[in-house]
C-alpha cells in the first residue's frame, strides 16, 4: 500500500509535501478569487472532501461499502440546524453535536452491517439512506418537510461571524486539513493497518488477533461522523436545507468522487471532490443533463480508471521513472 510509511518519515514526508502544496494552492485560490461565487465552489470542495474522506476510510481502506452516506450527511445537517435554531446552541457546538449524532447512528447501523456480506451491506446502507430521507420528508413537525428550513444561523467563533462564502472558506479549510491529517495518522498507525488487513483478508486478520467486527464498526463510525460533520458545515454555509439535498443521488455523488479521485489514497478524496465539483459547476448551464454527467463519470471510472486519478498519476510516474532508469542504463 503506497500510503503506509514503512520507513519512518519516508512516505510521510512525500505526503506532507503534497499536503503543503495543496494547502498553498487552496489559500492562493481563495485569496485571489475574491469573487463570492468562486469561493462558494471552494467551500463545497472542502465540505465534500470531508464526507468523501470518511467514505474512503470505510470503503477504500476497510472494504465496507456504503451507498447511504447521504443519510449521515442529512443527520448532521438537520441536527445542527435544529439545535441551533430551536435551542439556540452556538453553531460551532451544534455542528459537533450533529456529527456526534451521525456517529451514533453509524455505530447502530454498523452492528448488523459488520456481519453482512457485500451485496446486503449495499442494500442495508441504501435502505438506511432512504429511511432518513423519507423521515425528513414525512416528519414535517420537526423538519418542516419538503419545504425545508430557512434562516440557519451562521457560525461564530470568538466573536467573529463567518458570514460570507469567503470567510467560511477559512473555517472549512481548517476542518479539511485537520481531517486529512487525522486520516493520514490513522492510516499509518496500528488501527489503519488493522483496517487494511480486514479489507485484504478478514480471516487472516482475525487469526492475527484483530477483532474484525470492532474495526468494521470503528470504520463505519468514522465515516458517519465525517459525513455528519460535512452535512452540518453545509447547512450553516448555505443557510437553507431541504430534503432534496439528501437523496440517494448525494450518496452516489460521494461514491463517484471517491472512485474518481482514487480509493485508499490520502489525496484521492480531495482530488475527486475538487474535480467533480468544478465540472458539475461548469456544466451548470446544462443542469438538465447533470445526472447524465454523473453517470458518465461513474462509467468512465469503472471501465477506464479503476484506480482513479491518483492511480493514473502513480502509474504515469512509475512509467516515467522506468523510462529514465532505462536511459541511464543505456548511457552507462
Amino acid at each position: 500500500m503506497q500510503t503506509l510509511n514503512t520507513t519512518p518519515g519516508g512516505f510521510l514526508k512525500k505526503n506532507r509535501y503534497t499536503l503543503i502544496v495543496l494547502l498553498i494552492l487552496a489559500c492562493v485560490a481563495a485569496w485571489m478569487l475574491q469573487e463570492r461565487y468562486l469561493s462558494m465552489i471552494l467551500d463545497y470542495i472542502c465540505i465534500y472532501t470531508i464526507a468523501v474522506t470518511g467514505l474512503d476510510i470505510l470503503f477504500g481502506y476497510t472494504g465496507q461499502v456504503s451507498f447511504g452516506q447521504a443519510g449521515f450527511y442529512a443527520i448532521g445537517a438537520y441536527t445542527s440546524t435544529l439545535l441551533s435554531i430551536n435551542l439556540g446552541i452556538p453553531p460551532i457546538l451544534s455542528i459537533l453535536l450533529g456529527a456526534a449524532l451521525a456517529l451514533l447512528f453509524g455505530i447502530l447501523i454498523a452492528f448488523p452491517a459488520s456481519r453482512l456480506v457485500k451485496h446486503f451491506l449495499s442494500l442495508l446502507t441504501i435502505a438506511f439512506g432512504q429511511m432518513v430521507y423519507t423521515y425528513i420528508v414525512g416528519a414535517a413537525w420537526l423538519t418542516r418537510g419538503p419545504s425545508g428550513i430557512t434562516g440557519i444561523p451562521k457560525v461564530s467563533l470568538f466573536g467573529y461571524t463567518f458570514k460570507g462564502y469567503q470567510s467560511y472558506f477559512w473555517l472549512v479549510l481548517v476542518a479539511v486539513v485537520l481531517v486529512l491529517l487525522m486520516k493520514r495518522n490513522i492510516i499509518n498507525s496500528r488501527v489503519g493497518r488493522a483496517f487494511i488487513a480486514v479489507r485484504e483478508n478478514p480471516h487472516a486478520a482475525a487469526g492475527m488477533g484483530i477483532n474484525v467486527a470492532k474495526y468494521k464498526i470503528m470504520a463505519f463510525g468514522i465515516s458517519a461522523f465525517l459525513a455528519g460533520l460535512a452535512g452540518a458545515f453545509y447547512a450553516h454555509m448555505v443557510g437553507f436545507i431541504s430534503p432534496d439535498t439528501f437523496t440517494s443521488t448525494q450518496s452516489n455523488m460521494f461514491m463517484t468522487m471517491l472512485l474518481f479521485g482514487g480509493i485508499a489514497t490520502i489525496s484521492g478524496s480531495l482530488i475527486g471532490a475538487a474535480i467533480i465539483t468544478v465540472i458539475t459547476e461548469l456544466l451548470q448551464s446544462f443542469a438538465s443533463a447533470q445526472t447524465l454527467v454523473y453517470a458518465g463519470f461513474i462509467l468512465v471510472v469503472l471501465f477506464f480508471l479503476p484506480n482513479g486519478v491518483v492511480g493514473m498519476w502513480d502509474k504515469a510516474r512509475a512509467m516515467f521513472l522506468k523510462k529514465r532508469l532505462g536511459k541511464k542504463e543505456v548511457a552507462s
Binding site: F120, Q130, M131, T134, G138, P202, L299, L302
Partner: protein, 289 residues
C-alpha cells in the same frame, strides 16, 4: 372500503413482488445485484405509452413489443456492460455501482426523450370503473393484478417445466457442473437479466394508467421491490412475492388508517429491522459471511 383497500394492497404488492422477483432472478442466476430494475419499469411504461398512444398500436401488441425490447435491453446490460466489467476483475460492488449509473442514464435519457412532465396513459378499457360487490374499482387495477398473477405463473412454469428454465436453475446452483453438462452458462445469465427487465417493463405498461408515466416513477417502486426481495429472502423468487404483498398491505393500510406521511419511512424502517434481526428473510438465503 375494505375490499378496495385489499385490492389496492394486492395490486401494489404484486407490482413490488414482480419487480422484486427480477432482483431475485438476477441474484440467483449471476450472484449479482442490479439497482436499475425500477427504471426498467419506467422505460417500459414510456415505451408502452409511445406504442399505444402515439403510434396507436393495439394494447396487446404494445405490451408484447415492450416485452421484447426490455428483454433485449436487460440482456444487453448483462452481456455487454456487466460481463466486460467483471472481465476487468472488478469487485461485485462495482457492478452495483454500474447499475446505479445505468439507472441514472435511463432516467435522464427518458427525460430527454419524453420530457419531464407526467404523461397520462390513456384508459385501456374505455370504462372508468367496474362494479364488484357494490364497490367501484378502476379496471386498470384489476388488469395490473391480473397481469401480475399471469406473469408469476408464467415465470413459475417457465423455470420449472421448460428446458431453458431448468438449465437456468442448474446454472444458478452450480455453474461448473452446469457448464460441464453442456449448458451455456453465460447465456442463462444474460437471459435472467433479460427476463428480469422484461418483467419490470411489462409491469410498467400496466401501472402506467394508474400512476401516470414520469421519469422518477421507477425509483421508489424499485426500492420497495428490493425491500420485498429482502424480506422475502433474497434470491428466492416466490419469497419476493410474499414480501411484495406484505409491503403492499403495510403501505396501503398505514396510509388509510394511520398516516400517509410516514408510509415510506415505515416501509424502510421495517426493511432495516428485518435486515438486523432476520437477515435471511422469510425464506432463508445466505447473506452472512
Amino acid at each position: 372500503m375494505l375490499l378496495t383497500l385489499v385490492i389496492g394492497a394486492l395490486m401494489l404488492g404484486s407490482i413490488y413482488g414482480l419487480v422484486g422477483m427480477g432482483y431475485g432472478l438476477i441474484y440467483k442466476a449471476s450472484g449479482l445485484m442490479s439497482l436499475a430494475q425500477g427504471d426498467m419499469l419506467m422505460i417500459g411504461a414510456f415505451l408502452g405509452l409511445t406504442f399505444y398512444k402515439i403510434l396507436g398500436l393495439p394494447f396487446i401488441v404494445s405490451l408484447l413489443l415492450v416485452m421484447v425490447i426490455m428483454f433485449a435491453l436487460g440482456m444487453f446490460i448483462e452481456r455487454v456492460l456487466v460481463t466486460s466489467l467483471l472481465a476487468k476483475g472488478a469487485q461485485t460492488v462495482y457492478v452495483i455501482l454500474c447499475t446505479i449509473a445505468i439507472s441514472m442514464l435511463l432516467q435522464n435519457g427518458a427525460m430527454f426523450a419524453w420530457g419531464s412532465n407526467v404523461m397520462q396513459f390513456p384508459s385501456i378499457f374505455g370504462v372508468s370503473s367496474v362494479n364488484i360487490l357494490g364497490y367501484e374499482i378502476l379496471p386498470e387495477r384489476l388488469l395490473a393484478l391480473g397481469v401480475g398473477i399471469v406473469c408469476m405463473l408464467a415465470l413459475h412454469f417457465f423455470m420449472q417445466k421448460s428446458k431453458f428454465g431448468t438449465s437456468m436453475r442448474a446454472a444458478a446452483q452450480d455453474e461448473m457442473a452446469a457448464s460441464t453438462l453442456g449448458i451455456n452458462v453465460p447465456r442463462t445469465k444474460g437471459a435472467a437479466w433479460g427476463i428480469a427487465s422484461m418483467l419490470a417493463g411489462s409491469i410498467g405498461v400496466v401501472v402506467g394508467p394508474i400512476f401516470g408515466v414520469y421519469t422518477a416513477m421507477g425509483s421508489l417502486i424499485g426500492q420497495k421491490a428490493f425491500a420485498s426481495a429482502v424480506v422475502g429472502g433474497y434470491g428466492n423468487m416466490y419469497g419476493a412475492i410474499v414480501g411484495g404483498i406484505f409491503f403492499g398491505f403495510v403501505e396501503t393500510f398505514v396510509s388509510a388508517y394511520v398516516t400517509s406521511l410516514y408510509k415510506d419511512f415505515i416501509s424502510f424502517a421495517i426493511l432495516i429491522i428485518v435486515m438486523i434481526f432476520m437477515p435471511t428473510g422469510l425464506f432463508k438465503e445466505q447473506v452472512m459471511e
